[in-house]
Amino acid sequence: MSGALPPTGDADDAETRSGVGEPPTGDQVRAAAALREAFTRLAPQGSDAWNFLAAFTHLGDRYGPYHPGASALSDAVSASRIEGRRTGALDRLRPRRNRSPRPGDGEKTELEEAMGHVVEAFRFLSARVETLEARFAAQDRPVEGAAWLVPARELGAWAGPIAAHVLACTPGGEIVHADCGEGALVHALRERGAAAHGVEPRGAVALRAIEQGCSVTIAEASEHLASRPEGTTGGVVLSGVVDRLPLHALLPLLAQSRRVLRRGSPFVVVAEPVAALAARDTSAQDLVDGRPLHEATWELLLRRAGFVEVAPLPDGSGQDRRIAVSASAPS
């Protein structure tokens, strides 16, 4: 693998203040950017649950320490604040019969008591949200485990025939391949002058593709497709990912593919044949939710997802027994 990598500078040239020597090549710069992006997407910012929690954190922040008594000073400050407030606006909101004489220490107005209940309710909800978030994080992106247990096969001999088919049908626009593996199809498409982009969830594999000149995003196919604008993509090829996703996750993936494709653009699925289930002698398969589907089932799924011209792709791959089903986005 290392032999295929671009050079990284001569060790003898390094100086105490480094960053000198040979600057990173274009491929290395893109690989570094992909590595950064792969980590950035792991930050929880921006999710509804996160913002919800932030709102509650703000409430807790505003209404005092979560654990009363944790700080002697803050207790003292709070006590003086409450005392000072009793003669303020809240006092005027107290029912007249309770307003005089001045309430004793520790006595609260009805409004303060009600606010206390509301704040406690918010805190309870906040704790619930935290718990749900933790559970969500634990179950987040369950398909990744499958990606590691049963790594997607490279397209191998299918790369050439599929590249030819896609190029013959595309109305133009970038062609996306997921899981792209080490980028054989992306490379083949680029060699023929097409704009092609790979998507691969296994960072180390993606890194090899990037370093060989491919444009690759380290992500799950569903994540990447969701980020692409509607009706702009010149073709989508799915392989690998379709062998490990459970059926309930496959359907949204097909819908996403359909959404991003330009009118009349080609869509191809390359999947393991049903017979591969018995042939693949690995206990890891037991843990994988996805199961190979019959060719006819793929055709049905593609039609139900709104594709037209659904048909098996003629096998131009020689000994490779995988099935390939092609379709088109409606014109």
Partner: protein, 363 residues
């Protein structure tokens, strides 16, 4: 009799600010000046060293100097700002909230409040002391008029730098199986993902024996979880070890057996692990960021391009050049001597005594 008293929200014997505060108190007392440590929250482990802050008004004497150890937001800040004693702020840095916000809003809000506390204290402080020029610039930005720099007095108090590093010699000749080390709180400002990305590059380039040992207490679960997932996605699960919080002995052992300390922090107010590595004879490779270049003072290896390829290349280049390694380690030793950490507490007290005297003479 007036005194020079130290205020800290909570006194932990095991953390850098706690050790520093204890050192300052002892150095103040050694000059024959009354000195106590006042805390907002009592830590049972240091209950015999600290006094509850609410006791201070009864104990206060005209001419007192109060030294506030500033590292986080606390009710202590507005409380001290409202008092009349001569105030000195010892600033240990606040991580910019924007670095924490994508990971932990609660911590980010705390940092935001801390920044507000700092601005609140600025017009009241007779002096503000930072542990680096980098931090001093932050003090000036926050409105402090009189500032000084004194290195942290307790930077090498933890017994984390036991001698004996022959084990690392074996890997130096070939650069294979290099043992990278990262030490410090596992927090977004440390940008450990950059170190991990550089390790991925090193593996991809055929040096699959290189390992990374990360020692430090997690600042927030979301960031640590993301690092774990990143490591898994890059296929480095067998090469990266997260040790979490570790004893001084474990840290000392890690410094002794590692080949290089890697620092890729986005923000560092001082970076104690750098001086610990210097003390242990361990070369440091770091991004040219925050106070790290200042602490290294021309020693170590700085990587100006924040790129995993540049970092990986710098580490490999260093570890495969034995004579350069020796030069770097020797330069680090000289720099450590220059920092003169052993006298830092006395130099700090030197700054405080004139304030106490001038205050005493005016009352």
């Amino acid at each position: 009799m007036s005194g020079i008293h130290h205020f800290v929200p909570v006194l932990h014997r095991g953390d850098a600010v706690g050790r520093h505060t204890l050192r300052l108190r002892d150095a103040t007392r050694a000059r024959g000046v009354d000195s106590e440590i006042f805390v907002d929250t009592i830590d049972h482990d240091t209950a015999d060293e600290a006094i509850a802050v609410l006791s201070y008004p009864e104990m206060a004497r005209p001419g007192d100097v109060v030294v506030y150890q500033f590292a986080t937001a606390s009710t202590m800040a507005p409380w001290l700002a409202s008092r009349s004693e001569t105030l000195v702020v010892n600033y240990h840095n606040v991580t910019p909230p924007e670095l924490m916000a994508p990971w932990d809003n609660h911590l980010a809000l705390g940092q935001l409040r801390a920044q507000g506390d700092l601005r609140l204290l600025a017009p009241r402080a007779a002096l503000a002391v930072a542990d680096s020029a980098y931090n001093e610039a932050h003090l000036a930005d926050s409105g402090f008029a009189v500032t000084a720099v004194v290195s942290p007095s307790a930077a090498l108090d933890a017994e984390t730098t036991a001698s004996g590093n022959d084990g690392r010699r074996a890997t130096r000749a070939t650069g294979r199986g290099a043992r990278w080390l990262a030490v410090g709180r596992v927090s977004p400002n440390k940008a450990l993902e950059s170190t991990i990305a550089a390790l991925a590059v090193t593996h991809a380039q055929g040096n699959a024996d290189a390992t990374l040992y990360i020692i430090g207490k997690p600042a927030t679960d979301s960031y640590v979880n993301a690092l774990h997932r990143y490591v898994a996605e890059l296929g480095l699960a067998d090469a990266v070890l997260f040790a979490g919080h570790a004893s001084d002995a474990t840290v000392a052992s890690a410094y002794a057996s590692a080949d290089v300390l890697v620092v890729t922090s986005e923000h560092e107010g001082f970076c104690v692990p750098v001086v610990e590595a210097m003390s242990a004879g361990l070369p440091v490779v770091a991004f040219d960021q925050g106070a790290v270049p200042e602490v290294l003072g021309g020693s170590g290896v700085l990587v100006s391009d924040k790129d995993p390829y540049a970092l990986a290349a710098a580490i490999t280049a260093l570890l495969t050049d034995t004579s350069r390694l020796d030069t770097v380690v020797e330069a680090e030793r000289r720099r450590l001597a220059e920092l003169n950490l052993g006298s830092a507490a006395d130099r700090f007290v030197d700054l405080l005594l004139p304030l106490a005297r001038s205050e005493a003479s005016s009352t």
